[in-house]
């Protein structure tokens, strides 16, 4: 049985009058330790898919159908209590905007500790130790200083590393990274991708990596889904798709890649 299996996922929004389908019949499968990429242009439904897997789509106006099975449990049907347990212990997520993903009023260390605070009974000193270890694990130079600083005192790259530390502190089985590098410059992008690779290798964390940059996906993932307008238009081995795209749309995505000295050309 695979770790994560998504079948026929549909997401619809009900507005006052109309119904919009944002994601249409998405299927995907991930084993433990897999790295799967999702690429697609802006608005193609990548974030929606990720949020649905993380169980973060609000319940009122969104209608979700299909199956999202994580370790044998259907996340779309399970009661909130169980979902919260799975969310906090098994699935973590890193978002696109490092500016919005940290609370501006709280110290970074406090925020890295938050999931421990929610899930475990742990004394302050132990929590701090874990948080600093987590910050060190994401290769932040001075974890103690970062622990005691506010988000606005860090650079975008440092914030994103702190976010990854916060996501990894509970040692999840699945890390969803929704365009974690889009807001960063190229050098930092490459470093973050390297970091994710290392996390995957050393801890066996499966990573669902979302991006609109095929070259980034190619440097990190083995398999990839290409999404357009809520549909998966192409999927399979990353190198293969990169070398030999079947869809016009995928070709366009490939052509849109700026020539980038940090990544090997396919």
């Amino acid at each position: 049985m695979s770790m994560l299996k998504v079948e026929d996922l549909c997401i619809k929004v009900h507005d006052k009058k109309t119904t919009d389908t944002l994601v249409y019949d998405v299927d995907l499968e991930m084993e433990k330790g897999d790295i799967l990429g999702i690429v697609g242009e802006s608005g193609s439904g990548k974030t929606m898919t990720a949020l649905a897997i993380a169980g973060l789509l609000s319940r009122h106006d969104m209608e979700k159908s299909g199956h999202i099975t994580f370790e044998g449990i259907n996340l779309l049907e399970v009661e909130r209590k169980v979902l919260r347990k799975i969310q906090g212990n098994e699935i973590s997520m890193v978002f696109q905007e490092p500016l919005n993903s940290l609370n501006p009023l709280k110290k970074v260390g406090w925020q890295v500790e938050e999931s421990l605070r929610v899930h475990t009974v742990m004394d302050k000193a132990e929590m701090k130790e874990r948080a600093i270890q987590a910050l060190r694990d994401v290769e932040l130079d001075n974890p103690e200083a970062v622990y005691n600083s506010y988000p606005h005192e860090l650079s975008g790259g440092m914030r994103q590393r702190a976010m990854i530390a916060a996501a990894m502190i509970i040692q999840p089985r699945l890390l969803i990274a929704d365009e974690p590098t889009t807001a960063l410059d190229v050098t930092i992008q490459a470093e973050i991708v390297e970091l994710l690779k290392r996390i995957n290798k050393e801890r066996g964390t499966a990573i669902l990596f979302i991006s609109h940059d095929l070259s980034l996906v190619n440097s990190l993932c083995e398999r990839v889904l290409v999404m357009q307008n809520g549909l998966v238009v192409e999927s399979g081995n990353c190198e293969e798709i990169f070398r030999n795209p079947r869809q016009e749309y995928t070709k366009k995505l490939i052509n849109a890649i700026p020539k980038n000295p940090f990544f090997k050309e396919a």
Binding site: S58, I91, M93, N103, E114, S115, H119
Partner: protein, 267 residues
């Protein structure tokens, strides 16, 4: 450069006026030169003098003492009204903004209905039901002040709850209560600070207005609005009866609005 100097002047004038008002309030609480209710027929309509620095009214009561107590009353009522408005407004705004759905729909409809009602009319209605007096005035104005605060809080909560860091905390599995209390409420403070100052100003004006209409403090107890309306009949013969309470109301409004203005532009 020019603008910041302007702000500084505003701030200083505002602070001075508010400082004077606070001193008057403290005097009103602890000691007034005369008993504000004591009548002295020999001093009826006495003019401005060292003995009565604001003169006396038609019952020979010392206007300065009555103004001090009036300031105390106005400050107390306004502060309580703003507190009620903020407190209930935060609760309603947070619940509607955070949970959305039909709760939001219903509460915000009611909110809009109350908001669309002129607040003076609303307050009159409440006082009509509860009867006059300071307590009813506070409740009436408190109710009238809730909707605007609720609206402001709701908008801000709606904005914050969709930010990524709230999504992160949700993903950690934090409870709704924890998300609201620990992660959302503290972030409302900047928005709340300025609306509290503006709200306080409106409350001062509303309190004076309601008292002028005789809807709050009952005579013979003094209040600034009531003193204005009592002085109305003698405004040409004994203008100081109206001028001093009026002046103090203007000082309060001006002081607080200058202060809130300067603070808002600073942040």
């Amino acid at each position: 450069m020019d603008k910041s100097k302007n702000q500084k002047v505003k701030f200083i004038i505002g602070l001075t006026l508010v400082g004077i008002i606070f001193l008057m309030m403290i005097a009103g609480i602890f000691c007034t030169p005369y008993d504000p209710l004591a009548m002295d027929m020999s001093a009826k309509f006495a003019g401005v003098s060292f003995k009565h620095i604001m003169g006396c009214d038609n019952f020979g009561r010392d206007i300065f003492s009555r103004v001090l107590v009036g300031v105390r009353e106005t400050m107390f009522v306004s502060a309580t009204v703003v507190f009620i408005g903020t407190f209930v407004g935060i609760i309603i705004g947070t619940v509607t903004g955070y949970f959305g759905g039909w709760v939001d729909e219903i509460l915000m409809r009611i909110n809009d209905a109350v908001l669309a009602f002129p607040s003076v009319l609303l307050a009159l209605l409440v006082i009509g039901v509860l009867g006059g007096g300071t307590h009813s005035l506070i409740i009436a104005l408190g109710i009238a002040f809730v909707p605007s605060f609720a609206r402001i809080v709701r908008g801000e909560v709606l904005r914050i709850r969709n930010l990524d860091y709230i999504q992160c905390v949700r993903l950690y599995g934090a409870s709704h209560l924890r998300i609201i209390v620990v992660h959302i409420l503290p972030n409302l403070r900047t928005v709340l600070l300025s609306s509290v100052l503006i709200g306080f100003n409106n409350a001062v004006l509303a309190e004076a207005g309601m008292n002028y209409l005789g809807m709050g403090t009952q005579p013979p107890n003094p209040s600034l609005g009531l003193m204005l309306s009592e002085a109305q009949s003698v405004i040409f013969t004994n203008p100081w009866n109206a001028i001093f309470p009026g002046l103090v109301i203007v000082m309060m409004i001006l002081g607080f609005s200058l202060l809130s203005d300067a603070m808002e532009n600073k942040s």
